[in-house]
């Protein structure tokens, strides 16, 4: 089965600094993939390449078997939706106005939503439980509520692929879990392919099917979360020792520094870079 996203020998650098080198992987339709790795490993850069915002130096990305560069901007926005890190707009758009903009790639000359568009927008508002504050300006919402609005917008864009850049940063535990539940529901009920950049390996282990662990340059690992996430791998990529446990199928990891109370229980010992 060919993937909805195919990445082959992808390389990218900012002026002289190489960020990604000969990266290849494939994402099958309907998969929830996490992209994890330390700061500066190129996670957000990869996300920007996957949505066509950046152009690769070498290699290529295919979406639905066609090269990403062959898509007009409008057509690509009908296949790939992006949720970037949370921001507050310059002007005070309401939640409805914000979510309605998801339909921009489908609108005609003067840009008014059809009844079908409105139904899709309403459904996205209901799914994300944001209908209750639909007429409020975005700036009046809490960070968690705002993030739900951005996800509502991405859902209303009605795309096969959903890309997210750290969707749970700045959120408390309840809202983190709420966002991942929403995303998982979109995957299971709507068959969406979801690619999320994340720093939270435990949430990734619980919710994602696969993980791409980026360690910088050509050092990357992709596979089922339970195969890729191991104390040794995490210690190698992040340079942090962890205590690993198991609840059911998936492991969980508690990062422990040398002054941590339970540091004597760590599963992986610092390997001095070896």
């Amino acid at each position: 089965m060919s993937g909805i996203i195919e990445v082959e020998n992808l390389s990218f650098s900012y002026s002289q600094r190489v960020i990604l080198k000969t990266l290849s992987f494939e994402v099958t339709s309907g998969t929830f993939l996490a992209i994890a790795g330390p700061n500066g490993a190129g996670k957000t850069t990869l996300l920007n390449l996957l949505c066509g915002l950046l152009k690769a130096d070498a290699g290529h990305i295919k979406i639905n078997s066609s090269n990403i560069t062959s898509y007009p901007i409008k057509k690509l926005a009908q296949i790939v939706a992006v949720v970037r890190q949370e921001f507050v707009p310059v002007f005070d758009f309401t939640v409805t106005e914000m979510v309605s903009m998801a339909r921009t790639p489908y609108l005609g000359t003067f840009g008014f939503e059809s009844n079908a568009d409105k139904e899709i927008i309403n459904e996205a508002l209901e799914t994300t439980d944001t209908l209750q504050f639909a007429s409020r300006p975005l700036a009046q919402l809490s960070a968690g509520e705002r993030q739900r609005v951005f996800i509502a917008r991405a859902l209303a864009q009605n795309t096969a692929v959903l890309l997210l850049d750290e969707p749970t940063s700045f959120l408390d535990l309840k809202h983190q879990v709420g966002i991942y539940d929403l995303l998982k529901a979109a995957q299971l009920e709507k068959g969406k392919t979801i690619v999320a950049v994340t720093h939270d390996i435990n949430l990734a282990a619980q919710y994602c099917d696969e993980v791409l662990l980026l360690g910088g340059l050509a050092d990357y690992h992709i596979g089922k979360t339970k195969d890729v996430f191991s104390p040794r791998q995490i210690e190698k990529i992040f340079g942090v020792s962890t205590f690993a446990g198991k609840v059911g199928e998936e492991k969980f990891f508690i990062p422990l520094g040398k002054f941590a109370k339970d540091s004597k229980h760590i599963t992986s010992k610092p390997s001095n870079g070896q």
Binding site: G52, A77, D92, F110, P137
Partner: protein, 343 residues
């Protein structure tokens, strides 16, 4: 069920606002140094010229002037809406990109060179103002795109630098003008609506309305562009193309407005904010409503300007600045809690 802006809803708002504008225009056309009565105006032209002077003044002098003021107000308000959106800056106005200084320089060159020919019924001042404004805007656009990757910041910087440079040249040239030249130039720089040839008026009307219609067709893309170019691309909008179209059309209608009426400040800055405070930031609604309210505002300001010290006339720019400030503050006090960037 969420509430959406529908075409029907928008048309109703536009019709109501247009009706208010029409009433304002008619009332303002009745007011002036020469008192005219509504009864005489409604009586029609009569048998021949000179029989009903009230009607002739109303139709021949006052109506063209209020139409001119409405057009200039609409163009400036729309240009303000557009530039605030594409520069993502609530402080932007139609003059921020050098249009004012370019047009001003054109006018001073026309006055200094003593050119008296007229082109298509426009005075040399009108023609030079239009040419100066247009050329300067393209210069700003060109420099802004040479300067760097962040086009919005580069554009703003290029506009500010060229404005400052041309303003200095204008001050230098103003200081060597003869006194009779100085008066017409100063009046123009302060914003001055005067009667124009009907053909100039109608062609300007068609150009401004066509420009506003063109801008209206990209308003849904401008909504997205206010989030920045990454977001715009993600939602299927080409930021470069949209910005180019918006900038070109906004500069075009501003250049026409400026060449007709001189430099009228405040309208392009305050009207978009006032309308946004009341109607919200959706550009599909903000643009047409701002056009109508901007038109009405300038018609009223011009009426005050030509009557307050009658028989003399004040430059309308003085009135817009004096009245616009407090008017905006009242709106701000009433609605500011709804607007996050004002906190």
């Amino acid at each position: 069920m969420a509430e959406f802006l529908t075409p029907k809803n928008l048309v109703i708002k536009i019709v109501v606002c247009s009706a208010v504008l029409a009433v304002v225009m008619c009332l303002c056309a009745l007011v002036g140094t020469q008192r005219i009565s509504l009864e005489n105006v409604l009586a029609g032209p009569g048998q021949g010229p000179g029989e009903n002077t009230d009607y002739e003044i109303f139709v021949g002098v006052r109506i063209p002037r209020v139409i001119l003021a409405a057009l200039a107000g609409a163009a400036l308000a729309c240009a303000g809406v557009i530039l605030q959106a594409i520069l993502r800056n609530p402080l932007a106005d139609p003059y921020i990109l050098g249009i004012s200084s370019g047009a001003g320089l054109g006018v001073i060159i026309a006055v200094l060179s003593g050119i008296t020919w007229s082109f298509w019924a426009g005075s040399p001042i009108t023609v030079f103002a239009f040419a100066g404004a247009t050329l300067t805007v393209w210069l700003v656009w060109y420099i802004g795109h040479l300067a760097g990757k962040s086009q919005v910041t580069s554009l703003l910087l290029a506009g500010v630098v060229i404005n400052a440079f041309f303003s200095a040249v204008i001050m230098f040239l103003t200081s060597i003008l003869k006194s009779h030249q100085l008066r017409s130039t100063t009046l123009w720089l302060m914003g001055n609506i005067t009667e124009k040839d009907p053909s100039v008026l109608w062609v300007s009307a068609v150009c401004i309305l066509a420009g506003i219609l063109g801008l209206f067709s990209i308003c849904h893309r401008l909504n997205v562009l206010t989030f920045g170019q990454e977001e715009a691309k993600g939602l299927g909008v080409d930021p470069a193309k949209t910005r180019f179209a918006a900038f070109g059309l906004a500069a075009f209608i501003t250049a026409i407005a400026v060449s007709l009426s001189g430099l009228i400040g405040f309208v392009g800055l305050i009207i978009p904010h006032a309308v946004r405070l009341v109607f919200g930031p959706d550009h599909r609604q903000l643009l047409p409503v701002s056009a109508i309210i901007g038109g009405a505002f300038l018609v009223i300001a011009d009426t005050v300007a030509r009557t307050i010290v009658a028989p003399a006339q004040l430059p309308v720019g003085v009135i817009t600045a004096i009245a616009g400030g407090p008017f905006f503050l009242v709106l701000l006090a009433k609605y500011s809690r709804k607007v996050s960037w004002l906190k």
